[in-house]
Subunit: 84 residues, 2 copies
């Protein structure tokens, strides 16, 4: 069965986020002054072939741990739904 995984990978909260800082500093240049904090990470969509939702979760979790996220700098979370 096919499952769709939606994965968010963000820098740890206590770490500096230079990308986010840069965007935050540039928003006033386009007339936007109401934004306090900006944090930027990765959003990944994957289609996974698995026999159950639990198995799909294991596959995605391993993918995050071993390849997609740098666990020293980043945290990850994901949501999995059967592919409609």
């Amino acid at each position: 069965m096919k499952y769709k995984a939606e994965i968010k990978i963000m820098p740890h909260a206590e770490l500096l986020d230079p990308q986010g800082k840069t965007v935050g500093k540039n928003l006033p240049n386009i007339g936007i002054h109401e934004v306090d904090q900006v944090r930027i990470g990765k959003y990944i969509e994957m289609i996974v072939d698995a026999d159950s939702k639990e198995e799909a979760e294991k596959i995605v979790d391993t993918s995050c741990k071993k390849l997609l996220a740098n666990l020293i700098m980043e945290k990850y979370e994901f949501n999995i739904e059967p592919l409609s």
Copy 2:
């Protein structure tokens, strides 16, 4: 009032996604063979100061159009909730 915006920016579906392709090709190297498609984009969190949800939506929409997303190559969607 403060609102939290969660923004997803993805390459247009019909465009090549070299990052996604690269990850897709490397997953078998870590023993993962059940993943079909991988698409990679940006996930951005912003804290917005606005008088209403509608005003917060306008601010985030303008931020996406003018700075965060490259509209030729990318599409964006966002979700806004009052900051608890």
